[in-house]
């Protein structure tokens, strides 16, 4: 059955769904009404789209980008943009870029994310406006403020089926210091500049206790070239009798470089040697917010996740990243592996070495087994295994693997193309 697997995938995944005629007609209609200069407002299926007021959004722009969220929230945001545009028209060009920055308040950010309830919370007494900016290279990072409480958002996370309503929210603004806009959702570079925004607690190692392990998430959008991010996590205000930080670092997940944790004092500090973004803000929280019972609950819940390897996003991703980086270092740019580097940094598992000839259909069926590293098998043809016109001696990777998040079991399956058309499989492990 195994040798048919590729065919099964081809068969099951064959493109077989015809688009509805109405959909195709709609595409043609929208594309050419827009080209003819008809405004997006009149093209809209709905009677009114507030987006069209402020930015002359092209009728060609994706529908969903106009349709997201409720119109009231977006109207508030866009109405602001209209007023801003009017003000800017009176201002000198030289200050336009600066004036455009920091234009959104906490409430407006929440509204921009279609969360009216949270927008209310950010306008209430419990909200803390910070508006502190730190600059790193070409990034200006501003912590706008925070708010926390029970059921203060229109959205509610569930963790393992249990609704989480006691939450902490923080808003940051990230922008280019040179005034160039951050990429917007439709721009090619959107998402290339990754940041991790997370609360950290003094006394708790940020490697283990961060937004990921606190059961958090984020939403973001770009407005006037500034990327606004709202983070939403377990209510860390319960630790208000300690120092609570908001850290912003480059990368998607926590890594050790940007921040230092002093185990003896519990302090978390910026690593001044770090060449990248590592903003760290201290939150001016009222210690009266401290709740030892809630704090313990949050720690217990986080510890439970940390002890469950499968449930630990951070640990899994860091491990995956390390494994991927290890495997990538051997690639030589042509899709093959650098044999010298492989020999230098790895050792082969002798029990896995085997030579395989193709079957009548030109398909190679290979497998390996190792008492220590498990085993694997696969079937494929030459054209999918080796770069085109590969000479004999070319070594390629079939992939790397490790078990249970344990990098000590990391290994890479390789195939070498032989003169006689056979292939030799060998599994390498780090020396």
């Amino acid at each position: 059955m195994e040798y048919k697997f590729d065919d099964i995938l081809y068969g099951a995944l064959e493109p077989d769904l015809e688009p509805p005629r109405r959909l195709n007609d709609k595409i043609l209609q929208k594309a050419f009404q827009a080209e003819a200069g008809v405004s997006a407002q009149s093209l809209s299926d709905d009677s009114f789209d507030p987006d069209t007021i402020s930015d002359g959004f092209s009728g060609l722009a994706p529908d969903s980008e106009r349709r997201d969220g409720n119109s009231r929230a977006r109207f508030l945001l866009r109405a602001h943009a209209v007023m801003l545009a009017a003000c800017l028209a009176l201002a000198l060009w030289s200050i336009t870029a600066l004036a455009a920055r920091h234009c959104l308040t906490l409430r407006q950010v929440a509204s921009g994310l279609q969360d009216d309830k949270l927008a209310e919370a950010f306008s209430g007494e419990g909200a803390i406006t910070v508006n502190e900016t730190q600059v790193f290279g070409n990034y200006r990072i501003t912590l706008l403020g925070v708010v926390s409480g029970e059921a203060i958002s229109d959205y509610r996370f569930s963790e393992n089926g249990v609704p989480q309503s006691d939450r902490f929210y923080a808003v940051t603004a990230i922008e280019h210091a040179d005034g160039t806009p951050m990429p917007d959702a439709g721009d090619a570079g959107y998402g290339d500049e990754e940041f991790m925004v997370s609360p950290y607690i003094s006394g708790l190692d940020p490697l283990s206790y961060n937004i990921v392990t606190f059961g958090g998430g984020y939403s973001e959008f770009v407005e006037d070239g500034v990327e606004y991010r709202l983070i939403d996590t377990g209510n860390v205000s319960a630790f208000a009798d300690r120092t609570i930080y908001i850290g912003v670092s480059d990368g998607t997940f926590y890594k050790k470089g940007p921040f230092l944790f002093d185990e003896s004092t519990g302090a978390i500090m910026r690593n001044k040697e770090y060449d990248g973004v590592n903003a760290l803000f201290v939150l001016p929280l009222d210690s009266a917010l401290a709740d030892s019972v809630a704090a313990k609950k949050l720690i217990d819940s986080t510890d439970a996740k940390l002890s469950d390897a499968d449930g630990t996003g951070t640990a899994e991703s860091e491990t995956e990243k390390a494994a991927s980086e290890w495997a990538e270092q051997f690639r030589d740019g042509s899709g093959a592996l650098d044999k010298e580097k492989l020999a230098e940094l790895c050792r082969v598992l002798p029990e896995t070495v085997g030579t395989f000839a193709p079957d009548a259909d030109g398909v190679y069926h290979f497998s390996w087994r190792s008492e220590e590293y498990g085993g694997g098998s696969g079937s494929s043809s030459l054209k999918y295994l080796f770069p085109e016109d590969s000479p004999a001696g070319t070594v390629v990777s079939l992939g790397y693997s490790y078990s249970d998040g344990d990098l000590s079991t990391l290994c890479m399956e390789t195939l070498t193309l032989n003169e006689d058309g056979t292939v030799t499989l060998a599994v390498y492990v780090p020396k």
Binding site: L9, L28, A185, G399
Partner: protein, 175 residues
């Protein structure tokens, strides 16, 4: 691109792109949005089509970018942790006969559903290469370009996906 050209483009590549959107997005409404947005965006970006690039590959590239953007988009609550939603809904509604007739006469409807569900449950980093390779029949260099990852990584991901799918489908396919 005039009306006739766009019409021909939709006619020629609509089925392929629509199928891709459906397998990618899972939800029908979301897939239709993605499909429509792909063509509208492609019209906007038509000046960027490389002479050496085939149109389907360009459309898929636009589609993948829109999909990735959407996943990160403001209004979508992006959880960092938590269970991934299985996207097996739309596939249950229809398994067109044509799919059965193609290469694998032994592929039953149940098998097709099982394969599609297993593919839908793959994480994006594995699902995208699988769809581009098996559904859209693209070559590794094209997939690498569309996903903006090295060719070797595409190969690794395809291998990992196959391995995962085999494991997942072992029982079904052995019956």
């Amino acid at each position: 691109m005039d009306r006739d050209e766009l019409s021909r483009c939709v006619e020629t590549h609509g089925k392929s792109i629509y199928s891709f959107c459906r397998r990618l997005a899972g939800d029908v409404q979301e897939a239709e949005d993605l499909y429509q947005d792909t063509f509208l965006k492609a019209v906007e970006l038509r000046g960027q089509i490389d002479a050496d690039e085939n149109v389907k590959s360009f459309l898929l590239s636009v589609c993948v970018n829109l999909w990735k953007n959407r996943r990160r988009k403001a209004a979508i609550r992006l959880r960092i942790t938590g269970p991934r939603t299985a996207l097996d809904g739309p596939d249950a509604e229809s398994v067109p006969d044509t799919a059965r007739d193609v290469e694998n006469e032994f592929l039953r409807r149940e098998d097709i559903r099982a394969v599609r569900s297993a593919v839908a449950a793959l994480p994006d980093r594995l699902r995208l290469p699988v769809l581009l390779f098996y559904m859209e029949d693209l070559k590794l260099p094209e997939i690498a370009r569309i996903l903006k990852i090295p060719e070797g990584t595409v190969k690794s991901r395809l291998f990992a996906a196959r391995k995962k799918l085999k494991k997942e489908l072992q029982t079904v396919l052995n019956n």
